[in-house]
């Protein structure tokens, strides 16, 4: 490997890191505006806009993230006296690094570099899916040691809760991915994307998709599973003692992980950068303007498709946050272990049976599988829904019985 290749790699990595942080920054704006809409408010719309003639303002608030960053940066940086200093300082890093490196295994699109590689896929490795799982599972450290190192009981409780929650939902997450892996017959992420050229996995793996959505939401400790940082109980949870940029890093890692999860969902279930028509369009451009242009067009279009899908899912995330109230800790554990895990196992069994019984790529069985998944999800929702008592208090079924 010569130094130019290394340089190119470094540049690509830098681009990726900057892209994901930018994505994070604008996702916060996206979320705040959307939440405001959901709550019938206006939201941040002052910091930076393009004035249009007639008093109209375009892109109101697009500098808000920069303002936030500046604000956080200039806050006082406090280190608690009794904190475990090094671990305390290390924790944000532990949180951010997995959130960033998880991106390298996700094929963001298809931009062939001419040497059989893909500009938009940093690490096309054999065990791509396992890499994703591994990095996800490492993500818990930031939260756990932040909680411990702060030497604060609320932080500690938040940290322990977070660890338990993340470990619990990793199982359901992994099992829901297993269905996709079986469906596609490969552990390579780009292989999975390619396998969805005909039909997106969301159809046959509908149950897996729903489980993945729920589990990934819990995995990134986001509403309605955000009881780790429940202000009412824990004064903010594991990052109570963190301020300034260190808090910003935690904040960032959470949002990047959320986006990454959505990106993974797009990769696994929504066909990644696939969109009908892209192939033909790029072939046309190749014919007209040469291979490089064709590849570039292909890459940009697939990246665009990928980003659109990710944005749609992100919208869903915000929507969920705006709609669903926070769950209790026992409900959280119940959902993870008693409902999602068995469902995910059922999904694996169904996938295996269909995989053995029907030929690969047959359309009707895949649709049938999706319908079965839909039915199972609906049934579970109906059966496992908390019972509503007369006083309007919701109870878990086991408590209602007592």
């Amino acid at each position: 490997m010569d130094w130019i290749a290394i340089l190119i790699l470094l540049v690509r990595c830098l681009v990726l890191a900057l892209a994901s942080t930018t994505l994070f920054a604008y996702f916060t704006l996206f979320e705040r505006r959307l939440l405001a809409r959901f709550q019938n408010r206006v939201g941040p719309n002052r910091a930076g806009y393009i004035p249009l003639p007639g008093g109209k303002k375009l892109f109101g608030g697009f500098l808000q993230p920069a303002a936030d960053a500046v604000k956080l940066f200039f806050k006082e940086d406090v280190i608690p006296a009794l904190a475990d200093r090094w671990v305390y300082l290390m924790a944000p890093g532990f949180a951010v690094v997995p959130a960033l490196i998880i991106w390298v295994a996700i094929p963001l699109g298809n931009w062939p570099d001419g040497n059989g590689g893909n500009w938009l896929h940093y690490a096309p490795i054999d065990v791509g899916i396992l890499y994703l799982l591994a990095v996800t599972s490492v993500g818990v450290y930031g939260i756990a040691i932040a909680g411990w190192a702060s030497n604060n009981k609320y932080s500690m409780l938040g940290g322990i809760r977070a660890s338990a929650q993340v470990i619990s939902y990793e199982l359901a997450l992994g099992l829901s991915i297993l269905g996709v892996v079986m469906q596609s017959g490969t552990l390579r992420t780009e292989g999975i994307v390619n396998a969805q050229a005909g039909m997106w996995n969301i159809v046959p793996q509908f149950m897996g998709f729903i489980i993945f959505l729920i589990a990934s939401t819990a995995e990134v400790v986001r509403s309605p599973f955000d009881l780790v940082e429940a202000e009412q109980e824990l004064v903010g949870g594991y990052n109570t003692e963190y301020g300034s940029m260190k808090f910003a890093l935690f904040f960032m890692s959470e949002y990047i992980k959320l986006i990454a999860m959505n990106a993974i969902a797009v990769t696994l279930f929504l066909g990644g950068g696939n969109l009908p028509g892209i192939e033909q369009a790029s072939a046309a451009i190749t014919a007209g303007y040469g291979v490089t242009a064709g590849n570039a067009a292909m890459g940009l279009m697939s990246l665009g498709a990928f980003l659109i899908k990710t944005t749609l899912l992100s919208f869903l995330s915000v929507w969920i946050r705006a709609t669903v109230p926070r769950v209790r800790y026992d409900q959280l554990m119940n959902l993870g272990w008693v409902i999602l895990m068995p469902l995910a196992l059922l999904n694996v069994v169904i996938t295996a049976v269909f995989g053995v019984v029907f030929p690969v790529g047959a359309v009707v069985p895949q649709i049938a599988m999706g319908v079965i998944g839909l039915i199972v999800i609906v049934l579970t929702t109906v059966l496992a829904a908390p019972k509503r008592t007369k006083r309007g208090v919701t109870l878990v079924r086991s408590q209602a019985r007592n």
């Binding site: 090094w86 890499y131 818990v140 190192a149 940290g159």
Partner: protein, 167 residues
């Protein structure tokens, strides 16, 4: 290139191990152990074992160390060696024995490195891929695989039983 990566990783691994050994705080030890495991995982990549790399990260980093941290935090048992050491003669004997052991191992390695540790066979680019591992695991080693699943089940049940609340 490979040598550079190896040397760096090896140094990281050794630093992690030694720091784990000498650290007074159990949480620090666990984190150093994590560092060590991460380094070993990288070595797995060098040794054409990408699958084990992922497994190492998922199981050791993602589960075992987290469990350690969890228990340490839960029990508040970070510093549990404050009281006096009841067996003072243990440390010198142990260190002597450890030195002897590593001496012996080095002796063996030096003697064997000529012939016994030479590389056998050509490098297969597919070697250690998930497909190959799966092939071996589910055909030749199917029975141990099943047995291992039962071991895990037993451990699971054992832990549940241990922590059942007795009325």
């Amino acid at each position: 290139m490979e040598l550079v990566i190896f040397v760096i990783t090896a140094i990281v691994a050794i630093i992690g191990a030694v720091a784990m050994l000498t650290s007074r705080n159990a949480v620090h030890s666990a984190l150093f152990l994590l560092l060590n495991f991460g380094a070993i995982a990288v070595l797995y990549l060098l040794l054409q074992a990408p699958f084990l790399f992922a497994v190492q990260l998922i199981v050791y980093a993602g589960a075992i160390i987290v469990l350690f941290l969890f228990v340490v935090m839960l029990l508040g048992a970070e510093r549990d060696e404050e009281d006096a050491n009841p067996i003072r003669w243990q440390a010198p004997v142990a260190i002597t024995m450890a030195v002897l052991l590593i001496g012996e191992i080095i002796w063996v390695l030096v003697r064997q490195s000529q012939d016994g540790l030479a590389r056998v066979g050509s490098s297969d680019s597919d070697f250690g891929s998930p497909a190959q591992i799966a092939q071996a695991l589910f055909t030749t080693h199917l029975l141990p695989f099943e047995v291992a699943s039962f071991v895990l089940l037993t451990a699971l049940i054992g832990v549940v039983v241990l922590h059942q609340r007795r009325s």
